[in-house]
């Protein structure tokens, strides 16, 4: 017989368990619509794998686990996915959460499942994979993904595997009835878990207020080496840390995990689900839920599909809504009020409590703390609830943290014994949340600071680079100027020289103009200067080529042009000389000259014309242009050219039409 230890504090509230134990587990059937919240567990929400309108079969994977701490979701029955949207869920906030809605077709057709097998033949990773694939999350109430808890680091030695059948909270009997009716399955689950974590001993812990369950479990565990440990009833002996202390005498360190003292703890419901998943390949799609309280006619336990609306279960149990001021999910100690009876059953819903107003009256107004110390006596975590209360109320969260606020399991024992009816647990929950929020804020602030500093640094670096480039350019320019000055230092100042040259040229020109202009000299001079320019340009080009500069092309065209000019100048000189020799008048230059002359003549003629004639001519010209434009427009329309082009043409035609109209008006005015 195992030595049963004791933990500090604890209370003995009225159990109220017998009401729901008169009848065996009842199948809740298939509701018309199932709502599966994507987050029914602690950790990251699952990612949907199906689309709206898709048909799903019972047991089909509909949402997969994302990340390490997460759990998969399966269709609880066959049907059609009708929505993936936020719906109200069982959460104290009453906020909606993303849900996958399935309209059941009533056929309850299973998808293909992995073949049944015996766990002894499976390797550890394979077993874990099966548990993970089945989407099992702690069924006791916390909902921690089972596969994560069981996925031990290599080399860790587990002393004790504890299967938790305590169920210490009043009213709840889901585990009790499971142990009574499905003891063999739980024991098989325990064996699988033991196979997985290889503990030195496996213990199933049950409170002594469940004699039928104890008898059933003892019978089932006969000869398996699994020990059934029975201990006195006390709330909250079902708390993980309290149960570990009860059965092993070891205390889980503050902020630590059971694994730190070599213990793995799983709920009996989880063990049953593991057995189902490993032996039959069936995923977690249903659970046992207690429906109890004075506001239901037939309190009992249901085997219910996940996603079933609570109202469906309540209707089966004979719910009288008028007698029930508030509906609670979980037990009276740790449960919370559900915002709406339509919210779905999830993996962690072990109880729906519909108490009457007399049964669970609204909490009386809180009175001042009288420092009686009853809370400290009741606290199973050996904390100082009174101190925590003062710190939380005074918003001195750091001090509360220093008083081990985070070791509080929120069991409600302190609030239960408080003679002043102070809602202590609510203070601790709020304080915990504030601290977590502050930590998140601090983390975000730190992150923002890093980003801000990185940005400042980047801006400074860019500025410095820009400055460096500018300085380099400035230096290069100065260098160049200095070099140029050095090269020109042999002669006079180059600028001065250029000015002088220009002045000389001007003077010469003026002299030339003053004297009889000599066209021959002029032409000769042109030829000479052009040749000089050509030579210079060629030298430059050669230099550029040897340096491989990138403006060679430009220089080349320059050289070409200069050469052409030189040729033209030489030609002109020859022409002039030939002209001079026969002493004949030069023929009327080239075509350009002719055109200029023509234009000048036309202008002269225009000048001589009367305004009336001018207007008429103008009109004629405009009309011709309009005709041309219209033809072009028609052509491009016919050719089906781009819309833009057609539009542009059309607008130009319009403009011309306007101009023509204006010209007509002008002409009319002139004529009159």
């Amino acid at each position: 017989m195992r030595k049963i230890h004791d933990f500090h504090g604890g209370i003995h509230p009225v159990e109220n368990k017998h009401q729901s134990l008169h009848t065996p587990i009842r199948d809740a059937g298939i509701p018309a619509e199932l709502t599966l919240p994507l987050s029914q567990h602690i950790g990251a929400p699952a990612t949907p794998l199906v689309a709206v309108g898709e048909r799903v079969l019972k047991g089909q994977l509909v949402a997969e686990a994302t990340g390490l701490v997460s759990a998969a979701l399966h269709a609880p029955t066959s049907g059609t996915v009708t929505a993936i949207e936020p719906r109200p869920i069982a959460h104290p906030s009453g906020l909606p959460a993303p849900c996958l809605v399935i309209a059941s077709d009533g056929e309850d057709a299973w998808c293909e499942l992995p073949p049944p097998c015996s766990f002894e033949t499976l390797e550890r990773p394979e077993l874990l994979a099966r548990i993970r694939a089945a989407g099992i999350a702690g069924m006791g109430g916390a909902g921690f993904p089972a596969a994560v808890k069981l996925g031990l680091k290599p080399g860790t030695q587990v002393e004790t595997l504890i299967i938790n059948g305590t169920e210490c909270e009043p009213y709840i009997t889901a585990d009790d009835i499971l142990m009574r009716e499905r003891a063999a399955q739980i024991v098989r689950g325990a064996q699988i878990l033991a196979h997985l974590v290889a503990p030195a001993e496996t213990v199933i812990g049950i409170e002594d207020n469940k004699p039928e369950a104890i008898a059933a479990m003892c019978a089932a565990a006969e000869g398996t080496g699994i020990e059934i440990a029975v201990f006195p009833t006390k709330y909250p002996s079902g708390g993980e840390k309290q149960l570990i202390e009860l059965l092993t005498g070891k205390q889980v360190p503050s902020g630590g995990l059971p694994m730190d003292v070599g213990v793995v703890c799983q709920n009996v419901g989880t063990a049953a689900a593991v057995a189902d998943a490993v032996e039959h390949g069936r995923p977690l799609i249903s659970r046992i839920t207690t429906v109890t309280g004075a506001a239901v006619d037939e309190p009992q336990n249901f085997e219910v599909l996940l996603g079933t609306p609570m109202s469906h279960l309540l209707a089966l149990a004979g719910y009288r809504a008028a007698d029930n001021p508030r509906l609670v999910m979980g037990g009276p100690m740790m449960g919370f009020t559900v915002p709406d009876p339509g919210v779905p059953i999830v993996k962690t819903t072990n109880c729906i409590l519909a108490p009457s107003a007399q049964e669970l009256p609204a909490p009386p107004p809180a009175q001042a703390c009288i420092r009686c110390g009853l809370c400290a006596e009741a606290c199973p975590a050996s904390l100082l609830p009174q101190q925590l209360y003062w710190f939380a109320r005074g918003r001195e969260f750091e001090k509360a943290e220093a008083h081990n606020l985070f070791d509080c399991i929120e069991c409600g024992a302190c609030s239960y014994v408080c003679p002043s009816n102070i809602p202590l647990v609510q203070y601790y929950r709020a304080a915990k949340a504030e601290v977590l929020q502050m930590r998140r804020d601090a983390q975000k602030a730190e992150h923002s600071r890093q980003r801000f500093e990185a940005r400042q640094e980047r801006l400074e670096r860019e500025e410095a680079e820009k400055e460096a480039r500018r300085a380099a350019r400035k230096q290069a320019a100065e260098e160049k100027a200095r070099r140029a000055a050095d090269a020109g230092s042999g002669e006079a100042d180059p600028v001065q020289a250029a000015i002088e040259r220009a002045q000389a040229r001007k003077a010469a020109q003026a002299a030339g103009a003053a004297s009889e202009e000599n066209p021959l000299q002029k032409l000769e001079k042109t030829v000479v200067t052009t040749r000089e320019r050509l030579e210079k340009a060629e030298a430059k080009l050669a230099q550029a080529r040897s340096e491989g500069a990138d403006h060679i092309a430009a220089l080349e065209t320059g050289v070409e042009k200069t050469r052409a000019k030189l040729a033209a100048a030489e030609q002109a000189l020859q022409d002039y000389q030939a002209q001079q020799t026969p002493a004949e008048p030069a023929p009327a230059g080239d075509a350009a000259q002719a055109a200029i002359q023509k234009a000048m003549a036309a202008r002269a003629a225009q000048a001589n014309k009367s305004p009336l004639e001018k207007a008429r001519d103008n009109l004629e010209k405009l009309e011709a242009r309009l005709a041309k434009s219209e033809a072009r427009l028609a052509e491009s329309r016919a050719a089906g050219e781009e819309e833009k082009i057609v539009e542009a043409l059309a607008s130009s035609v319009e403009r011309l039409q306007e101009k023509v109209a204006a010209a007509r008006a002008e002409l009319a005015a002139e004529e009159s």
Binding site: P361, P365, A430, K444, A445, S448, R449, R451, F452
Partner: protein, 201 residues
């Protein structure tokens, strides 16, 4: 020498004290050089309390400059995003009086996040240049968007936007951000008799 000291105890005491002073002075001088702290450590501590929104509502170009200003004696109530909690933390750190937030610099608001109405964005990059934490993504003539998880809600991007397509949206409460509130103790009269409640109702 010893005789002299014995005959003049005053001189002996004086010499001893001067000697001790010299020794400890040298020790302190050495320690001051050897264990010199870089920068002003109080600035780091103040900066750690400030919310790092870099919004400039305090009149300084970022949180760190304000931290430096506080260390130099400036008021601690100029940071609206830090709120009263921030002022209290600063007051505790610096042992100063807790003062209410200075309205001149803005009021405490719920955390916000910038949102660009993407249809209206013309891709001018002005908001990108204004963002102190590089939380806006985009390129010239391409639509910009805010990386919500990086946004500090400083609203510095709102003003430069030429087409007013940036909204500051209060962060919606989600299941992740929801938490229990402290019980309301404000309207509780001390004279309520517990047994009266419930029964009468």
């Amino acid at each position: 020498m010893i005789e002299l000291l014995v005959q003049h105890p005053l001189l002996a005491a004086l010499l001893a004290l001067v000697g001790l002073g010299a020794v400890f002075g040298a020790l302190l001088g050495y320690a001051a050089v050897r264990f010199r702290t870089e920068g002003n450590p109080i600035v780091e501590q103040i900066n750690a309390i400030l919310p790092q929104t870099q919004c400039g509502q305090c009149g300084h170009p970022g949180c760190r400059p304000y931290a430096e200003a506080i260390a130099a004696g400036e008021d601690i109530n100029k940071c609206p995003p830090g709120g009263q909690a921030g002022i209290e933390a600063l007051a505790q750190l610096l042992d100063r009086e807790v003062v209410p937030l200075d309205d001149e610099h803005g009021e405490e608001k719920v955390p916000q996040v910038a949102f660009i109405r993407e249809d209206e964005c013309i891709g001018c990059t002005k908001c990108i240049q204004a963002c102190p934490v590089d939380a806006i993504l985009g390129a010239a003539k391409h639509m910009h968007t805010v990386i919500a998880s990086e946004c500090t809600g400083c609203d510095l991007c709102v003003e430069p936007c030429p087409v007013d397509c940036i909204d500051m949206i209060p962060q919606a409460q989600t299941l992740q951000t929801w938490h229990w509130e402290l019980p309301d103790t404000s309207n509780r009269g001390a004279d309520i008799i517990a047994t009266d409640a419930g029964e009468a109702a």
